[in-house]
């Protein structure tokens, strides 16, 4: 039952990153490449029309995590207190930028809301990557210092950074050179994804140029990926065990690689939806590979005193999980139905669509 909920939450979270990922990515592209007002407008629209329904997936993932793994929810949310609240602020700030932009006539005001949308998109992508980096690196559970625990073994608190900025100390912070690398991978991945989205959904004048941008970003991504895999071993020495013992898990890294390799041919790909699919594979493969390397651990402990948090020692009762399975399946089926109805009616380029709110 724990495994079922783990997979279900993994799916919802991945869908969130795929969906909201394109509007984060659109924000990053917007920040660096959109120069003309017409392009800026249509790119903000391509994010503005969809971001709120995409973020519903985050709310759903949070709710499911709370229900199925309450101890994990409590531990991680309080332990990563500052970065999580900063993420909330960025989400709100980004929304303000997106919604305010269209309300002003003068370019001066549009520019400032554009910046708030672009910069917060970039920082969000970075922070989400850093979060993933923290999960795979592990934390000092129980805040152990000199062999003494300051809290119960499943609680911890991370400062934003530790003066050494190193993942290899006994008490690393949220931001260190390893998590920054993962953060950069997330930024580049989502930028590629966002660029594909813009090409797919708009007729902006930078669409042609964006294919070249995707190609260059993809080179950077390949380099970062190789580099991160090398250091990953140093940060978490168990990271390959799961793949060795359960070779079928190699499917996930292969999904990632398919996306990565495929995107080198982005200029030759005729159908824009195929390119978008490839960057979707990147996100899907990246998240699932990271989770698979840890499974069944969901937060490793970096000290010897306290156990890793796993899906088994943080879950709710068997009865609760089983009841939720019943309503969960019904709920999920309904969501799929809404999703199909909505995507059918909202397909195609959005340039001429009315901006409702």
């Amino acid at each position: 039952m724990e495994i079922f909920w783990y997979i279900a939450i993994g799916i919802v979270l991945t869908v969130f990153f795929i969906l909201d990922g394109y509007d984060f990515g659109a924000g990053i592209i917007h920040l660096f490449f959109a120069k003309e007002e017409k392009d800026k407008e249509v790119i903000t629209k391509s994010a503005g029309l969809f971001w709120d329904s995409n973020e519903v997936w985050l709310v759903a993932a949070g709710g499911m995590l709370f229900m199925a793994f309450p101890t994990f929810y409590a531990s991680v949310f309080s332990g990563f207190y500052l970065p999580l609240i900063i993420v909330l602020w960025l989400i709100i700030f980004r929304a303000i930028g997106l919604e305010f932009r269209g309300q002003f006539k003068y370019q001066m005001w549009k520019d400032i809301w554009d910046k708030s949308f672009g910069v917060s998109s970039l920082l969000l992508a970075l922070f989400f990557g850093i979060a993933l980096g923290n999960i795979v690196r592990g934390v000092n559970l129980g805040s152990v210092e000199n062999g003494v625990s300051a809290h119960e073994g499943h609680y911890f608190f991370l400062p934003l950074w530790d003066s050494s900025f190193s993942p290899l100390t006994d008490h690393p912070g949220v931001i260190d050179w390893f998590t920054i690398i993962i953060g950069l991978i997330a930024v580049v991945t989502l930028a590629i994804h966002g660029a594909n989205w813009i090409i797919l959904k708009t007729n902006s004048s930078i669409n042609k140029k964006l294919k070249g941008v995707i190609f260059k970003l993809n080179i950077a991504l390949a380099a970062l990926t190789i580099f991160s895999l090398v250091v990953w071993q140093n940060v978490n020495s168990n990271s390959l065990d799961n793949f060795i013992h359960k070779p079928y898990l190699m499917l996930f890294p292969i999904i990632y690689l398919t996306g990565l390799i495929g995107l080198f041919f982005v200029k030759k790909i005729k159908k824009n939806s195929h390119a978008f699919l490839l960057s979707t594979l990147l996100i899907l493969g990246g998240i699932t590979s990271s989770l698979a390397s840890l499974f069944p651990v969901i937060l490793p402990s970096i000290n010897n005193k306290h156990e890793d948090l796993t899906i088994y020692n943080t879950s709710a009762s068997e009865y609760g999980l089983s009841v939720a399975l019943i309503w969960g399946i019904i709920g999920f089926a309904l969501i799929v139905v809404y999703f199909i109805i909505q995507k059918r009616l909202m397909s195609g380029k959005i340039d001429n669509m009315d901006y409702g709110h």
Binding site: G63, S75, Y81, I341
Partner: protein, 443 residues
């Protein structure tokens, strides 16, 4: 420790108060939008369709605000109330996760379709999408109230040796005797807010002599919905809730009614007075004898235990705030019934549209249903203190053990700053929509 609890509570209170400005409007408004759309299907008068679409625009702004201020609410269970989440997540996680699955997706998907899809779908399907938005938003209220009902009156649980609450009977979460009265009271209160907002926009259009055809429609609809819902908020739903509090949380009941001393011959109802916590009495009290006993038990001389009957630890920790919240809610509710009844009377006499003083009154009353809704929630939440789960888990035992008060104060200040900006955005967007009016845009 004390200041940790204080800042955690203050941050939750601030963010939830700001958040609840938005859902209370959307829940009520969705019902009224369905009404307009239904009228349009029946009589094919374009005015009703435009009214439905106009209010859906206002709904959409509020919905967006609700989403961005709602995510922090969900996150805060984990960030600031980790111990509470760990111990009770197996139970309230159920209802909160169901809210995400069954209502947010419904609401957000069909809201987009309602706004963009009228031409694609035809009128009947368009009505249906509106109805599904209404269903989604009321389902959201249902699940939140189910969560809160469990905290007020826990059912269907078992407590393990390690202090964890585990679910033992799922259906009891929804048959909780606290739930239905609280849900109906809350939903009616949200219709009051939306009815006042609608009537107020109507009054504004009439007074300004712009879009006045819509002004009359909005005012009429707002007044009718407003009177019905204001009455239903008080009776039977409010009455039903008060009886629940008297039965299950007698200490909270004594505190909110301001009864310091038990009267053997029946309890009086306090209209005005200021709690004096040093002398344990009400200053400058105006009260009517025996009414409270009658309202609560239908017996003039039934004894109701006052605060002197309880240990201090059992009583809410901020009695004056609880007392004022409750009295502000009840007082405003009474005024709403009066104003709306008067407005309906003059509507019937066909004089309302020309009565400037009453139109101005209705227009300026618009903040008050918000205040009444929010003080109503304060009453429920302050009344439950000093517990998170009534009688079982103390508020002080629910906070995150690792988050220092300095960090919470930092994030609280950040939320205050950001929400001021957000509030400004909200006012600009709603203001522009109202100013533009319900007449369709010309392309």
């Amino acid at each position: 420790m004390e200041d940790m609890i204080f800042y955690d509570r203050l941050q939750f209170a601030f963010t939830i108060t700001f958040h609840y400005i938005f859902p209370q409007l959307t829940m009520g408004l969705s019902l009224m939008i369905v009404y307009f759309k239904w009228k349009y299907l029946r009589n094919k008068i374009e005015k009703y369709n435009n009214a439905a679409k106009f209010f859906m625009k206002i709904f959409a702004i509020n919905f967006t605000m609700g989403v961005v201020t709602g995510i922090p609410m969900e996150f805060q269970f984990g960030t600031n109330w980790a111990k509470f989440s760990e111990l009770t997540g197996g139970i309230i996680g159920q209802t909160l996760a169901m809210e995400g699955m069954f209502s947010f997706f419904l609401e957000s998907s069909f809201l987009a379709l309602f706004i963009f899809g009228e031409k694609l779908m035809g009128q009947k399907l368009h009505f249906l999408t509106g109805f599904l938005v209404f269903l989604g938003s009321w389902a959201s209220g249902w699940f939140i109230l189910a969560t809160n009902a469990w905290m007020q009156h826990p059912v269907g649980y078992e407590i393990l040796d390690n202090g964890k609450f585990v679910l033992d009977n799922f259906s009891e979460l929804f048959t909780n005797p606290w739930l239905l009265p609280a849900f109906l009271h809350n939903q009616m209160a949200s219709v009051v807010t939306s009815a006042f907002v609608m009537a107020s926009i109507g009054a504004f259009y009439i007074l300004r002599d712009k879009h006045s055809e819509y002004g009359r429609l909005f005012l009429k609809t707002g007044v009718v919905f407003g009177l019905i819902s204001s009455v239903l908020v008080a009776f039977p739903t409010g009455d039903w809730n008060a009886k629940n509090v008297a039965k299950h949380q007698p200490g909270a009941f004594a505190a909110m009614e301001g009864i310091f001393e038990t009267e053997d011959a029946g309890a009086e109802i306090v209209l005005i007075g200021q709690p004096n916590m040093v002398k344990k009495k009400l200053d400058n009290k105006i009260a009517v004898p025996n009414i409270l006993s009658f309202l609560t038990y239908q017996e003039w001389h039934k004894q109701i235990p006052g605060m002197d009957q309880f240990e201090e630890e059992e009583l809410p920790d901020n009695i004056p705030a609880l007392y004022y919240s409750y009295h502000i809610m009840v007082g405003l509710g009474t005024i709403f019934i009066g104003v709306m009844a008067l407005a309906l009377f003059f509507l019937w006499r066909k004089k309302l549209y020309n009565m400037k003083s009453l139109l101005w009154t209705i227009m300026f009353l618009v903040p008050f249903p918000y205040i009444a809704n929010i003080t109503g929630w304060y009453t429920a939440e302050l009344g439950r203190q000093p517990y998170l789960v009534y009688g079982l888990l103390k508020t002080s035992d629910g906070i995150s053990p690792t988050v220092s008060s300095g960090n919470t104060l930092f994030t609280l200040l950040g939320f205050v700053a950001l929400y001021m900006l957000l509030g400004l955005l909200f006012l600009v967007l709603v203001g522009k929509t109202i100013n533009h009016g319900p007449t369709p845009q010309k392309h």
